[in-house]
Amino acid sequence: MNLLRELFETLRAFVAAVGAVTLFLVRVLGQAPRALVRPGLIVDQVHNVGALSLVIIMTCGLFVGMVLGLQGYDLLQRFGSEDALGTGATLALLKELGPVVTALLFAGRAGTALASEIGLMRATDQLTAMEMMAVDPIRRVVAPRFLGGAIAVPLLTVIFISIGIFGVQLIGVQQFGVDTAAFWSQMRASVDMNDVLEGVIKGCVFGVACSLVAVYEGYTATPTPEGVGRATTRTVVISAVLTLILDYMLTAVML
């Protein structure tokens, strides 16, 4: 009986959280047009979350691509189809690894930074001070960061994928001697626009989701050092879980 009540409470809290996040999203989107009036603020945030994540994204993209090259080659040469390496690895990068790994890295690098930055602004009364100066912190602080993240993630995703393909090529063609022409031509023959589109769409959705989680957790953080720390941790955990769940749903829809 007690367990049942606890379960019910948890469920209720979950539903309430979903509702709160949705309302928050509506509020942020409501302020987005007014935030767009000052693109400088958004540029700053694209810089903050995007340009600063660039190095880690490129490094990871290269290594993920190289691992794909090794594993893919090992797998395919058992069937004598090494030439399909380009196709297989590219599709894996485009459709899954690129968007998902980028989103996870973004959550870890930029999402936590966003959450703790906003949480600290809350803890040090900066958000309240803005409200007292009749400046809506949702418009001035949250919306630009949200939009910056939502813009940056798809861009980071395509960069990750491109570097990843380079990594695959490095291992497959340079090291194992897969025929360059076969590598590229097979890839071109079997990858089409829809596959690229799938990757980009996933990147956009994950960007919105991870940015939203980060700014929400930061904005609603308990204004104490522990509260900010907790918000940061929750940002990573929720972003990761949400990314993978969304990934399943998007894949199911788009496949």
Partner: protein, 284 residues
């Protein structure tokens, strides 16, 4: 309770009730803030002084009661109207609450940039004037992290003044400052008020500084105003709590001991100490 004439009050609070969960913070609070004066709000820690400021500025809504700012009923305002009203209020936070990603200049310029389309040269002029008034014109390019507590508060004061508000609210402006900085802030509060003809509300528990500063004082305790008037009147007040507060006595109506079961019994008892189930005391 109020001896200032109603017509000349900028903030008026009537029978305000407010509670968080089961805890009642205000139960029938009445207060009037006279225009053009410095009003002090005092009280023991945890009596909800900051909560009161949040009520006045419309950050939270009372359960019951009326809060008027210059004739506008604050809790009933729509967001837009509330923001319009807040441009006429300036607030100084305990730690200054400067925006940490901007330097001093940009912090003071912030409300101007957000609310006006003034040309850069004019903004520069206003910002420098305000900073000159708080004696920090030389610190324009410092970041908030490079400022001392007292300097941060003076910058915050310059920022609060930037849009020339009618009402300035100081939340614990003296907390944690060395005597020199404290003296500077006291002088600034007084000078701002006299020179610019604005109204000030100072929330604090630094009795000495407030005695020097305030034209009108309120002492809040137990969710109500327990005493009001000038400092002379307060000192003549014969209620215990007022005496305890003004004299800084360790024990009195605000008890030294947090509510607990009987000490003697608890020491004698063999079992684990029970959680307090007494209902005495004024609460936290």
């Amino acid at each position: 309770m109020t001896d200032a004439s109603e017509a000349d009050s900028i903030v008026e609070i009537r029978d305000v009730h407010y509670s968080v969960g089961d805890r009642e913070i205000f139960s029938g609070l009445n207060m009037t803030v006279p225009r053009g004066r410095i009003t002090a709000i005092m009280g023991p820690s945890g009596t909800g002084k900051t909560t009161l400021l949040r009520l006045i500025t419309g950050q939270i809504k009372p359960d019951r009661g009326v809060i008027l700012f210059d004739g506008h009923e604050v809790p009933r305002l729509k967001r837009r109207e509330l923001y319009a009203l807040r441009r006429r209020m300036g607030m100084l936070f305990q730690n200054g609450a400067l925006l940490t990603d901007m330097d001093v200049f940009e912090n003071v310029a912030f409300p101007l940039r957000e609310h006006t389309d003034l040309p850069e040269s004019l903004i520069r002029q206003i910002v420098l004037t305000k900073l000159q008034a708080v004696g920090l014109r030389g610190a324009v390019r410092l970041m908030p992290s490079e400022l001392s507590g007292g300097m941060a508060r003076r910058v915050a004061l310059a920022r609060a003044m930037a849009t020339d508000p009618d009402l300035l609210i100081y939340d614990e402006p003296f907390a944690g400052l060395d005597p020199i900085s404290m003296g500077m802030i006291v002088r600034l509060v007084r000078r701002m008020n006299n020179a610019l003809g604005l109204t000030s509300i100072v929330v604090s528990h630094d009795v000495q500084e407030l005695a020097e500063l305030a034209d009108m004082s309120y002492i809040i305790s137990g969710g109500k105003v327990v005493a009001a008037g000038s400092f002379g009147e307060l000192r003549a007040h014969n209620s215990q709590i007022v005496n305890q507060f003004l004299e800084g006595l360790p024990d009195g109506p605000v008890p030294f001991h947090y509510p607990a079961p009987d000490y003697y019994e608890q020491l004698l008892a063999d079992r684990e100490p029970e959680t307090a189930n007494t209902s005495t005391g004024t609460g936290s």
